[in-house]
C-alpha cells in the first residue's frame, strides 16, 4: 500500500500545486461566476491543463496520454480541489477517460482517447435521474430499433453536460428500475437530433445540466461495453471517480482548514488573537485530526485503484463517505470560526461550503456509501 508518494508522484503534486495556485486560484471561479461565463470554465486554463498532460493522465501513452494512473489523477484532482478550479477534468479526464478505458472497444478507444488526451473532445456522463445517486434505479429506456437503439428519457445533474461533445448515456435495454442487469451505456453526440441540453445554475457556480432524449437514434457502434451488462463496468469507473472526487474534496478541506488556521492566528478580539482561546484551539486540533485521517483513507483508496485490489469498492466508499463527513464539518467550522466575515461573499469560505454540498451529492452521499460499505462488508 502506497502511503508515501514516490519521487515522481511528489514532482507531479508540486507541479499541480504550483499550477493551480498560480494559474487557477479561487479568483478564477469568481470571475467565471461574476462574468456569467456561458461555458462555466476557462478555455485558456483548460488548454494549459491539457498541455501539462492532466487531461490524459489516466490514458496510456499509446493513446496519447501520460499513463500516470489513478494515483496521479488523484494527486492532480486534490490540487484542483484546493483552489476550486473549474475545468472539465472530472467529466472528461476522470469519468470520460475512465469509462472508455474500462468498457470501450479498441475502435472506441482509438477514436476517443487521443481526443480526450489532447483536450479536443469533452465528455459528460448522463446517469442521474432522481435527486439521489443510485445507478440501479436507472429507468431511461434504450430500445432496439434496426441495428441501433432509440433513446428516450430525462437525465439530470449531468456534470459539464452543456459543454460536452460526447455524452455517455446510461440507459436500460432490459429489466426494470432496481435491476442490476439490463443497464447499457451509449456514446451519444451532444448535437444529435432529439437531444436537448439545459444548463442548470448550481449553488457552487460549477457546471451541471439537464438533458432530455426524445427518440434519439444511435447506431449499434454507439454501445459502450456490453449490452445489458454495463453495471460492472460502470461501477468500477464510478469508484475511480468517487475516489478522485474524494481527492478534490480533501483538497478543499485542506484549503478551508489552512485558511481558518491563518485567520485564528491573525484575528483579534477582546485585545487578543482569537487563536489563543482554548475552545477554538481544541476544535482546530480536532479538524486537524480529521484532515489527517482523511489523508490515510484517500491514499489507501488511490492505492487500491492503482493496485486493482479486490477491496477497491469498499475503499472507495470509505473515502467518499469519510472525506464527505470531514468536509462538511470543516466547511461549517470554517464559516463559524471566521464569524461575520465568513458569511460574506468577500472571503472564500462560502464558496468552499457550497462546493462541498454539491460534491457530497455527486456519485452518492455519505448515507449511500455507508450503506454500500456495509453491503460490501457482508453485514
Amino acid at each position: 500500500m502506497a502511503f508515501v508518494l514516490t519521487e515522481e508522484q511528489t514532482m507531479l503534486r508540486d507541479m499541480a500545486k504550483d499550477f493551480f495556485t498560480e494559474q487557477v486560484p479561487v479568483a478564477n471561479l469568481r470571475k467565471l461566476r461574476d462574468e456569467e461565463s456561458a461555458d462555466g470554465y476557462d478555455k485558456d486554463v483548460w488548454k494549459q491543463i491539457v498541455e501539462l498532460g492532466f487531461a490524459g493522465i489516466l490514458i496510456p501513452e499509446e493513446y496519447g496520454g501520460t499513463g500516470f494512473g489513478p494515483m496521479g489523477l488523484g494527486i492532480v484532482m486534490k490540487e484542483a480541489g484546493r483552489t476550486l478550479a473549474a475545468s472539465p477534468l472530472y467529466s472528461t479526464a476522470v469519468l470520460g477517460a475512465g469509462l472508455i478505458m474500462a468498457a470501450g472497444s479498441d475502435e472506441q478507444k482509438s477514436a476517443l482517447l487521443p481526443k480526450i488526451a489532447s483536450g479536443e473532445t469533452l465528455t459528460a456522463l448522463a446517469l442521474e435521474e432522481t435527486n439521489h445517486h443510485n445507478p440501479l434505479n436507472t429507468a431511461m429506456a434504450a430500445e432496439k430499433s434496426g441495428d441501433g437503439f432509440t433513446l428516450n428519457g430525462d437525465k439530470k445533474f449531468v456534470i459539464d453536460g452543456h459543454i460536452a461533445d460526447t455524452l455517455i448515456v446510461v440507459a436500460r435495454t432490459s429489466g426494470a428500475a432496481g435491476d442490476a442487469q439490463g443497464l447499457s451505456m451509449f456514446l451519444v453526440d451532444a448535437k444529435a437530433e432529439g437531444v436537448s441540453v439545459t444548463r442548470n445554475h448550481m449553488v457552487d457556480s460549477r457546471n451541471a445540466a439537464s438533458v432530455s432524449f426524445a427518440n434519439v437514434s444511435v447506431r449499434a457502434e454507439a454501445l459502450l461495453g456490453s449490452l445489458g451488462g454495463a453495471n460492472a463496468e460502470l461501477e468500477s469507473s464510478l469508484d475511480l471517480a468517487r475516489v478522485c472526487l474524494a481527492a478534490e474534496m480533501l483538497g478543499g478541506a485542506e484549503t478551508v482548514f489552512d485558511t481558518t488556521l491563518d485567520y485564528l492566528k491573525e484575528r483579534k478580539q477582546f485585545g487578543v488573537i482569537i487563536g489563543t482561546f482554548q475552545a477554538l484551539k481544541h476544535r482546530a486540533a480536532e479538524l486537524f485530526c480529521e484532515v489527517e485521517i482523511c489523508q490515510s483513507v484517500l491514499l489507501d483508496a488511490l492505492s487500491a485503484l492503482e493496485e486493482r485490489r479486490n477491496d477497491t469498492p469498499r475503499a472507495a466508499s470509505l473515502a467518499k463517505a469519510r472525506v464527505g463527513d470531514a468536509l462538511r464539518l470543516i466547511t461549517n467550522e470554517g464559516v463559524q470560526m471566521h464569524g461575520g466575515i465568513g458569511m460574506t461573499d468577500a472571503v472564500d469560505m462560502g464558496l468552499f461550503m457550497k462546493r462541498a454540498r454539491v460534491q457530497a451529492q455527486m456519485l452518492g452521499d455519505t448515507n449511500f456509501h455507508r450503506t454500500r460499505y456495509a453491503d460490501l462488508g457482508g453485514y
Binding site: 442521474e128 435527486n131 449553488v203 457556480s205 477554538l280 461575520g340 458569511m343 462560502g350 464558496l351
Partner: protein, 396 residues
C-alpha cells in the same frame, strides 16, 4: 358584558372596516411593510392598513397613548392579537424601530426624544437601522472604535459600522459610539444619527446566500446635534446590553419551523425522496435521522414555552436568552443540513431552470442559517456567557 368583551366587539368591527381584504392574505416578502422615507408600496393597501392601524396607535399597541401608542393593557393587547389572527391580518408595520429602538427609548430617552421619535416609529415614517458592530468589534462589541468628539453644540462622528441591517434603505441609525477612549465599557454612548446627514454612506455587503440585507456604514466627519444623545454620556453600554438581549431572543426564535415547512414538512420531503412504506419513511435510517431532529426541535420548542411560563410565574431560567440563542440557532443549522441531505440534488440550485421557487429558497435559507450562530453574539460568546453568568465558572 365585561369591558374586555366590549373591547373585543369594538375591535372586531373596526378591523372589519379598516383592514383591506388584500391585507388578509399571505404576505410576499416584497410587500413587507418596513415604512420609512424610501418605502415603496407595490400594493397600496399596505400603506392604507399601516395608516389605519397607526391612527389608533395599534402598530405599537402597548406603548403609552401620550406618545401615539395604543395604550392597551396586556389583556386588551391579547384580544387585539387574537382578533388580528382571526382574520389572518398581515402585520401593519415591521420595523426595527418598533422591535428594538422604541423599547429602549421608552426606558432611557428624555421626554423630548420620546415625543419626537416614538411617533415617527409608530406611524412608520422613519425606518431605523442599528449601528453596533464594527470590523474590529464583532464578538468583542465593546471594543468599538467609532469616535464621537465633543465639539460644543455637536458631536463629530468618525468611524465605520458593519452588519447594519438594510442601512441603504433606512433613514436613521441608532449607534454605539466611543465618547471616552480611556476606558472600555464606560466610554460608550448611544447616539441617533440622521442618515441624510453629510458624511454618512451605506454600502451593501454581499453575503454567501447572494442577498445583501446588511451594509457597511461609513461615518466621516458627521455632525450630530447633542440632543441626539440618548441616556447619559458614556452610559450607552447599559442600553446596548438591553437591546442585545432582545436581539438574541429574536434570533433564537428562528429555530422554529421555517424551511422544511415550505416543502410540506421534513417527513414529506423524506418520503418523497426515499419512498414510503404505508405512512412510514421507507428508509429506516433516514427515518431515525428525521425523528432525531424532530425530537430536538420539539424539545427546544417546549423549552421556549417553559421559559415563557416561568417568566409569567416570576421565575427566571437564568441567562435564558443566551441558551436559546445558542441552542436555537444550532438546531436551526442542523435542520437545514438535514433538509439538504434529504432533498439531494434538488437543494443544490442557485437560480434559473431545473429548480422550483421553494427549492431555491431552501438553498438560500440553508446558507443564511449559517449566520444565525454568528449574528447577535456568536455561539461561542453565548457559551462564554452561560459559563460565566449561570455556571459561575471563573475567568482565566
Amino acid at each position: 358584558m365585561t369591558a374586555l368583551d366590549s373591547f373585543r366587539e369594538e375591535t372586531r368591527t373596526w378591523l372589519e372596516e379598516n383592514c383591506p381584504a388584500s391585507m388578509r392574505t399571505p404576505m410576499p416578502e416584497r410587500e413587507m411593510p418596513w415604512g420609512g422615507r424610501q418605502a415603496k408600496y407595490p400594493n397600496p393597501d399596505t400603506k392604507t392598513w399601516m395608516d389605519n392601524m397607526a391612527s389608533r396607535g395599534w402598530t405599537a399597541p402597548t406603548w403609552p397613548a401620550e406618545y401615539g401608542g395604543g395604550g392597551l393593557s396586556k389583556q386588551e393587547n391579547k384580544v387585539l392579537q387574537e382578533e388580528l389572527g382571526r382574520i389572518k391580518a398581515r402585520p401593519a408595520l415591521t420595523s426595527f424601530g418598533l422591535w428594538m429602538l422604541g423599547p429602549a427609548l421608552l426606558e432611557f430617552a428624555s421626554e423630548e426624544q420620546k415625543k419626537k421619535y416614538l411617533g415617527e416609529i409608530i406611524r412608520g415614517e422613519i425606518r431605523w437601522c442599528q449601528g453596533y458592530s464594527e470590523p474590529g468589534a464583532g464578538s468583542d462589541l465593546a471594543g468599538l472604535q467609532t469616535k464621537a468628539e465633543d465639539k460644543g453644540d455637536h458631536y463629530l462622528v468618525n468611524g465605520q459600522k458593519v452588519w447594519t441591517s438594510y442601512a441603504d434603505q433606512c433613514d436613521w441609525i441608532f449607534c454605539l459610539v466611543r465618547t471616552d477612549t480611556s476606558v472600555k465599557h464606560d466610554g460608550i454612548s448611544f447616539l441617533l444619527i440622521d442618515m441624510d446627514d453629510a458624511g454618512v454612506e451605506a454600502r451593501p455587503i454581499k453575503l454567501i446566500s447572494g442577498a445583501s440585507p446588511f451594509c457597511e456604514t461609513f461615518l466621516t466627519d458627521v455632525k450630530v446635534p447633542k440632543e441626539n444623545l440618548v441616556g447619559e454620556l458614556n452610559k450607552g453600554w447599559t442600553i446596548a446590553k438591553r437591546l442585545l438581549e432582545h436581539e438574541r431572543s429574536m434570533i433564537s426564535g428562528m429555530g422554529m419551523g421555517a424551511g422544511a415547512a415550505s416543502m410540506g414538512g421534513m417527513e414529506a420531503v423524506a418520503k418523497e425522496n426515499f419512498g414510503a412504506e404505508g405512512d412510514k419513511i421507507a428508509d429506516p435510517s433516514i427515518r431515525q435521522a428525521v425523528a432525531d431532529h424532530k425530537m430536538d426541535q420539539q424539545a427546544f420548542g417546549l423549552t421556549l414555552k417553559r421559559a415563557e411560563a416561568e417568566a409569567k410565574a416570576g421565575q427566571g431560567m437564568g441567562a435564558a436568552a443566551s441558551m436559546f440563542k445558542y441552542y436555537g440557532t444550532e438546531v436551526n443549522k442542523r435542520r437545514f443540513e438535514l433538509l439538504l441531505d434529504l432533498m439531494g440534488t434538488q437543494a443544490l440550485g442557485w437560480e434559473g431552470e431545473g429548480f422550483d421557487k421553494r427549492e431555491l429558497a431552501v438553498t438560500r435559507s440553508w446558507l443564511r442559517s449559517k449566520g444565525n450562530s454568528i449574528e447577535g453574539g456568536t455561539s461561542e460568546v453565548q457559551l462564554n456567557v452561560i459559563a460565566k453568568r449561570v455556571l459561575g465558572l471563573p475567568d482565566a
